[in-house]
Amino acid sequence: MRALHANIGWWFGFALVTLALLFAPMFWGSFHLTLLVIQGLLALSLGLLWGQAGILCFGQSAFYGLGAYAYAVAAMNLQGHPWGTLAAVFIALLVTASFAAALGAMMFYGRVSDVYLGVITLVVTLLFNKFMNAAAGSAYVIGQAHLGGFNGIPGFPPLALPLSESFEVTGDALYALCCVLLLLALAGCHWLGQTHWGRALAGVRENELRAQLLGYDPRRLKTGIFALSGLLAGLAGVLYACWAEIVTPGLFSLKQAAEVIIWVIAGGLGTWIGPVVGAFALGGLKSALATQTLIDNTVIMGAVLVAVVLLLPRGVVPSLQRWLQPLGSRARWRLRWMRGEVTANVAKDSHHD
């Protein structure tokens, strides 16, 4: 019953997001919406890692930036080839996933935990940031691509499909592609949470020792989810590169790293929709604030983070669910009572939860 109940909630949320993505272009420009969808995907990548496996990575923007840079460099080098940009996407995904896997293996097999994991991921992000900022001049060239230091890499070809006339995926088409990918990723995460692997990860999150004593290897499970989450973040990075048509070291900044965490924690952990909604709402708020100069938007983001941690530690979406929960659990109980499954004793119990 619990699974069914949770499933109804999930399909409802999924439908809501789909509808929102369908109708949003009627009210706002698709150019700006595309960025929000990409950020939603980035938030989901952290939500997957943090929510399912309980691993808080402070450097999700490292994978985001790496995906974007890898795409830019690969696309520059494969310029002119009809399959060039598609190949670049796969190269970028491969690079980010392998990097995440290597970093994850280093940390989890080295028994680095909690806070130290946060530190290492943050330091990796800073390393990228400093390196990319400094990588200006003729010494920092990969094939045809100049890393460009502070100015980043402009002018690489955007995603193109090798159809009759090579078809560039920009504007509305890019928006549609991002939406489809986001919805696929959402459904994928939901499916993953119900597989043996997903549940084993939840087991490790809840009690690492118990999972170990049952024969699950936490190091392997965690490295796996870390790589997968890095892959998703890398995908978001690739899409960002296609959207912005320039990549800069700012992608690796501390501010970017903080924002991802804020989206996820504000939207809510433990749900798939929460991080995405958080990214949409706060990303939208940020751009709405960008037009005024009275308050710096960093202040707002900071205030949101402080307020959520202090007042709604579970995030907005789970808190909403919590308020709606009594309705659901009463309905569930009534159903079981009607089927005669519930004795007086147990009925009392199930009223408590």
């Binding site: 084993a200 118990r210 049952l214 939860d353």
Partner: protein, 245 residues
């Protein structure tokens, strides 16, 4: 999985096992062996080294010297998940469950590692019935009382169908009735499974054990049939003296 039939004599053995923490010797050269389908209790006063010894068997502590053999596999220095994968069920001193998962999910995760999905579903439901946990199937493990947590953890351990059970204080913190139920359960399981139990509660030990091993100051003090050992003068002095008066 280890073929236990070929090794009728000995399913678990330690040779010269020692553990030291800094300058403190917790376990000092212990030779121990367990026959197939034997139920052995490890007893001894606080700080006797029982739990340190136990943690070497489960892989939670790496011994400083000596070896641990599981049937004919040397598992010295293995980590817990490797030990568990050989078919060993381990229950910790403080009940260890996945708190934000339901009781059924806890059991399912245990069963699923050794069995395909559909059989794991059945195994979880069967275990719910067997341990009278069915009404609590959808409760979060973190919300259970201590006694129910003990019982659930035993269910989790059994759901993986182990051939060797290592139980650390299964009767700890239970009420009188719960201790009775636990003893009956362990005796029933013991007919088909080899079991090592670390326990404080002497009434419980008398109820379940035929063979006991007494630890004292990191060494094996006495070993043998429960009545002989418990009436032994030396054992009474170091351990039971306080209680026997």
């Amino acid at each position: 999985m280890i073929d236990t039939k070929s090794q009728t004599s000995c399913v678990l053995e330690t040779r010269g096992l020692g553990v030291r923490f800094g300058g403190v010797v917790a376990v000092d050269s212990v030779d121990f062996s367990l026959r197939q389908h034997e139920l052995r209790c490890l007893i001894g006063p606080n700080g006797a080294g029982k739990t340190s010894f136990f943690r070497c068997l489960t892989g939670q502590t790496t011994p400083s010297r000596g070896e641990v053999w599981l049937a004919d596999t040397n598992i010295t220095g293995w980590v817990p998940h490797q030990v568990a994968r050989l078919g060993v069920g381990i229950k910790t001193q403080i009940p260890s469950l996945m708190n934000e998962l339901t009781v059924r999910e806890n059991l399912w995760l245990a069963a699923r590692r050794t069995q395909p999905a559909r059989q794991a579903d059945d195994a979880a439901d069967e275990m719910l019935e067997r341990l009278h946990l069915a009404p609590l199937a959808l409760k979060l493990a973190g919300q259970l009382s201590h006694g129910l947590r003990q019982r659930t953890e035993l269910g989790v351990v059994l759901a993986a169908r182990p051939w060797l059970l290592l139980l650390d204080e299964p009767a700890g913190g239970l009420t009188h009735d719960e201790v009775q139920q636990m003893a009956e359960l362990i005796l029933e399981i013991g007919r088909t499974t080899s079991i090592v139990v670390v326990e404080h509660d002497m009434a419980f030990v008398r109820q379940i054990a035929q063979q006991v091993t007494v630890f004292h100051q990191g060494r094996v003090l006495r070993q043998g049939a429960v009545d002989d050992v418990l009436s032994d003068q030396v054992v009474r002095e170091v351990y039971l003296g306080k209680r026997a008066q």
